[in-house]
Symmetry: C2
Subunit: 245 residues, 2 copies
DNA sequence: CCGTGTCAAGAGCAATGCTCTCGGTTGCGT
DNA sequence: ACGCAACCGAGAGCATTGCTCTTGACACGG
């Protein structure tokens, strides 16, 4: 962290840095594997070192602390979920789906990923770990999913498929400048409150997956996939999207 | 837990058991305090023993493992949130509020509790801890909140304030028997899909609080309370409740 | 009034995160 | 081409954790 990471003088891709990068990649892969089948709480630097064939102290050359490792894995997870969302969106658009179909596809895709990698999901959308506080890098990655939501809503407005709210919300000056800038196009009626409604989409997705994954919906429905679809669809109705379920 | 609760032979409140109960209460209080300001991950039996003035090994007379302590705290948290919800509901009903106002009040009350006790909230609604699996006892406590939701919806149907869905969902045989039994009264159109829609209410509440508490909405809105209100209200619109925001 | 059962203490084991120091190696600048 | 500085890995070590086992003491109840 001091300055060992970026040698500065050696601008050529030296042999040493290549080796370092390779070890780093191995380390991250092993860590991701451990995370995947044991969870974040049991992630042990010593165990990783063991599997890496190094002394436990040596891994500190690559990662300054356990928390930094977690941060790296968090970043990785955020980017994965961002890619999943973007891919599902692109695929649906390519298949001729309308915005509502897009949102359903994105929601399903993220749920699918979450069920396949529950510990990674929990790492980013569950309780934050120990004294961890999101570094600025993570927010950029985390915003990718929300950007997909905004894009879907924008397409719906432009395509005329977004049902205007029956009871619009008063949202003057509620959202921050950066956010309204990112969501350009939601200023005039009847869609001036869509930006804040997009958060409901986010929250419902997040809440539905967490509830299912963390066991709060156990025993409620026989077909969890359909329960999920309908849960997400209900929230979407409130935003003005009628999902094809 | 075994049979100590029902003394059997010593029907008189024995001195010994009284002392035991007192120590147990102290232990739980200290554990709750540690949980409150350090989080579940840092909860240490040794630290509790220290504060209790006992040897670390002695606490195992009262609690068989760290996980059992966590379970006890989880139970306590579930009951707290259940009480909070029930009280908010009762107060609003007493104040003459309609079902929509009830749901807003309940949602706000739970958010308020969550912000005051974030670690307890995370304990039950965040990522599940280590190898922990919810014992049967916890589900009864966890269901209290959902029962409040169902009651609100039932009152809305009976009072005629629940807007029928524009596009009803096909829900034949989707929900389990116990659940439909608990939510008696949601079988015939146009409200046959309200039970599954109630899960959307749950998920949106859960998702909105988690998102705010775990930092996923940082920098979005200037007034977090109002963002929360509108997020919950959006999902409620999808269920047929128009919250007074 | 004494035996039984409960309690607490202490030592100890296997882990963990992290630090420090010590050689060995590499590679860049002079 | 060489030497020094940076880098890298190993090992020992500290403080901490959960949990177990054994031992001694106390209190309660017959």
């Amino acid at each position: 962290m001091t300055e060992q990471g970026s040698p500065g003088r050696s601008r050529t891709g030296g042999v040493r840095e290549r080796a370092r990068a390779a070890v780093m990649a191995d380390l991250l892969d092993i860590a991701a594997a451990h995370l995947a089948d044991q969870g974040a709480a049991d992630l042990s630097l010593r165990a990783i070192a063991r599997e890496l064939g190094m002394a436990s102290s040596a891994v500190y050359r690559y990662v300054s602390s356990r928390d930094e490792l977690l941060t790296l894995l968090i970043l990785r997870a955020y980017n994965t979920v961002g890619e999943v969302a973007e891919k599902a969106h692109a695929d649906t658009v390519a298949g001729g789906g309308d915005p509502a179909a897009c949102w359903l596809a994105v929601a399903r895709a993220i749920r699918h990923w979450a069920k396949a990698a529950p510990h990674e999901y929990a790492l980013i959308y569950g309780s934050p770990v120990r004294g961890y506080q999101a570094p600025q890098e993570t927010v950029a990655a985390a915003v990718r999913l929300w950007m997909v939501i905004v894009r879907i809503l924008k397409d719906a407005v432009l395509g005329g498929t977004l049902r205007p709210p029956a009871h619009p919300f008063q949202v003057d000056g509620l959202m921050s400048e950066e956010v309204t800038a990112l969501a350009e196009g939601f200023r005039e009626p009847p869609f001036e409150d869509v930006v804040v409604r997009s958060l409901a989409l986010f929250a419902s997705l997040f809440g539905a997956i967490s509830a299912e994954l963390f066991g709060h919906f156990v025993g409620f429905g026989s077909d969890e996939e359909r329960v999920f679809d309908l849960t997400v669809a209900t929230a979407a109705v409130g935003v003005g999207l009628d999902l094809p379920v």
